[in-house]
Point group: C2
Chain length 223, copies 2
């Protein structure tokens, strides 16, 4: 029986490879992508997420939640003047953490999914994010998965397929699935070129390096 | 050490008695009440919640989420033309269920709490609601409590003090705490007088009857 899937698509590498994976695994199923405007400092990710959804022939929409996040404490937000922290120690919750962001996003998607006969709900948290972002940890995922299942009368099933995987493995998976990596955006800064020095740029560059391939994204300083 | 508490206050009986209980248990602590406008068919509850917070000398605010819930499927919503279902069988999820509403509310409050140095987060789900509202069940509460704790790096602690209690016990508790029951509103209809026949009116009337006291709220048909 065909199932409807709701995918949290940020426009980043992890969620894009996840979308490719879902389309590959369930070619007959309907997949809808949801991107959230939570007042992040740039719109680049959001614009790309909608383009990526179109590339994969999926319906997509953006939920405007910027006002809700207005008083949240995070350097990623437009409402916040803090400089983005470029170094994160292992286990440190830095100023790029947006308090309980994934909890909010997944709850909103669970409510929408339960309203419109979806069954599957997906998000792209992976093992490397867990150390600095508590709402990407395995403990959070396992308990949130249960909260969503029980809170929707055993209806909505949350899956985070990369929860035990490192970013290099996700790049390998994406390469096998012919993901257009150049369409994805990871950098915390929304300039024309990726900065190459923020925590997500660094993680992304290392993951490509580990695979012995070049990231097609254009970085500052590249020729 | 003094702790800051964030309380989900609907303006109904259960959350109001909970607020009285928190103020009684932690007289030195700061308590802030949050009410959510999710596009419910009437504003009566919201107005009363703000008045109840003032009665208990608490700061309070209302979060506007009506737009977000616009496409949700529930007879309680203004965006939905369904008649409110007056009879609920045990274990039935009726049309007054708002998909994953408490998951969304609690996630939003967890993010706010984690942004502003709160520690305690409270909501008033009770044992009788669990049968018809999956997001009031003990299973949901236990897993959501863990998801919030882990997702905020072991920071925010969710408590639902009535999770094992019946409504009659909450009325008894409220009576002992001298709660102004007449200020609270439970009816699904926002008319001048409570209807007396919707599921929450029925539950409320039975709870007062079990305590041998009269509900000070004015009901349709009362003299």
């Amino acid at each position: 029986m065909s199932v409807k899937h709701l995918v949290l698509l940020s426009g980043g590498l992890d969620s894009t490879v996840m979308l490719a994976h879902i389309k590959d695994q369930y070619p007959e199923d309907a997949v809808t992508c949801v991107t959230i405007n939570y007042g992040q400092k740039h719109h680049k990710e959001i614009d790309l997420a909608l383009k990526i959804a179109a590339y994969y022939k999926c319906n997509s929409f953006c939920i405007p939640l910027a006002e809700l996040f207005n008083s949240f404490n995070s350097a990623l937000l437009m409402s916040n003047n803090k400089e983005i922290q470029n170094t994160l120690e292992r286990g440190e919750v830095g100023n790029t953490y947006v308090p309980f962001r994934n909890g909010i996003f997944l709850s909103v998607l669970a409510g929408l999914a339960d309203s419109h006969e979806y069954k599957g709900l997906w998000y792209g948290a992976h093992a490397e994010d867990a150390s600095n972002y508590p709402d990407c940890s395995k403990k959070f995922y396992n308990t949130m998965k249960d909260a969503i299942f029980f809170g929707t009368a055993n209806n909505i099933v949350l899956t985070a397929p990369w929860i035990n995987m490192y970013k290099a493995e996700i790049v390998a998976k994406g390469r096998a699935l012919k993901v257009p990596f150049g369409m994805t955006w990871s950098c915390y800064n929304g300039r024309e070129k990726a900065c190459g020095v923020c925590p997500t740029c660094k993680g992304r560059l290392e993951a490509f390096k580990a695979n012995g391939i070049v990231d097609p994204l254009v970085y500052v300083g590249a020729i």
